[in-house]
C-alpha cells in the first residue's frame, strides 16, 4: 500500500524558541487590543483596528501552534474552506439584518 505514499507527515515542527516568540507576540497583541479599547483617540478606528489585531492573533496561533504553516496543504484546505464559508455567511447575515441590502425598512426592523 505504501507504493505511492510520498507523504510528508514529519515536518520539522518549529523549535521551542519560535513557540516562545509567538507567545510573546500574542501577549503584545492582546495588550495592544485592550490598550486601543481604552484610548479614546482610537475610537473612530476601533473596529477595524481590533479586527486586524485579532486576525493577526488568529493567524499566529493557527500557523505556528497548529503548525498549519509547514503542514500538508490538505489541512489548510480543511480549515480554510469552511472558514471562508463561515465568514461569508456572517457578512451576508449582517448585511441582510442591518438592512444594508434593502431599499426600504421592511427587513431592517429585524
Amino acid at each position: 500500500m505504501s507504493a505511492e505514499r510520498e507523504g510528508t507527515e514529519r515536518h520539522a515542527h518549529p523549535t521551542v524558541g519560535v513557540y516562545l516568540r509567538v507567545g510573546a507576540a500574542l501577549v503584545i497583541l492582546t495588550v495592544l487590543e485592550v490598550g486601543v479599547f481604552y484610548v479614546p483617540a482610537f475610537h473612530v478606528v476601533l473596529v477595524p483596528v481590533l479586527l486586524v489585531l485579532s486576525s493577526a492573533k488568529f493567524t499566529l496561533v493557527v500557523m505556528f501552534y497548529m503548525h498549519l504553516k509547514d503542514d500538508n496543504k490538505v489541512f489548510t484546505f480543511l480549515l480554510g474552506g469552511p472558514l471562508v464559508i463561515a465568514v461569508g455567511v456572517m457578512v451576508a447575515l449582517l448585511f441582510l439584518f442591518l438592512g444594508a441590502l434593502t431599499l426600504r425598512g421592511a427587513a431592517g426592523a429585524g
Binding site: 505511492e4 513557540y19 516562545l20 496561533v61 490538505v74 469552511p82 465568514v87 455567511v89 456572517m90 447575515l93
Partner: protein, 189 residues
Amino acid sequence: MTAHTSMGLDNRKMAFWAFIGSECLLFGSLISTYLVYKGKSIVGPYPPEILNIPFTSVSTFDLLMSSLMMVLALAAVQRGDMKWGKIWLFSTALLGLVFLGGQVIEFTDFVHKGLTIGTNLFGCTFFVLTGTHGAHVTVGVLWLLTLWVRALQGKLGPANAMTVEITGLYWHFVDVVWIVIFTVVYLIQ
C-alpha cells in the same frame, strides 16, 4: 498509523481538521447571531454596564498562555522528555481550569447584576455563545487530564506524540475561538 494511508497523513489528525472546519460554522452561526442581535435588547442590563474588560483580559491572557504550554508539552513529548511533558500538560489543563473558574465568577457576577440567560437578547446570545465555548474548554480540560494521567501511568510516550498533537489542535482551536469572542463581544461594544 501513517504507513497505511494514501496521503501519508494520520487519519485522526485529518478527521480533526475536518472537525475544526465544521466547528468554524458552529461558532460562526453563534457569533453571527450575537452580532445580528446586538443593540436589540429591550431591557437592560446592556453590555457596557456589565462587561468587565480588565477581568476578561486576564482570562484571555490565561488562555493564550495555556496555548503556549500546550505547544511546549507537544515539543517535550516529541523529544521524549516525559518529565516536562507531564508538567506542561498539567499546566495547560490547570490554566484551562483557571479560565473556567473565571467564567464561573463572571457568570455569577452577571446574574447578581440582573443578567440571566432569559433577561434580554444580550443575555440569550452572550450566555449561549460563551457557554458553548466554555463547554468546549471543559471537554478540553478533561481530555488533557486524561492524557496527564496516562502520562503519570507511563502509558504516554513519544510514540503517542500524535495524540498529543491532536489534543493540541483542539485546544488551540478553542483558544482561537476565544480570540474572536474576546474581540467581538468584549472589545467591540
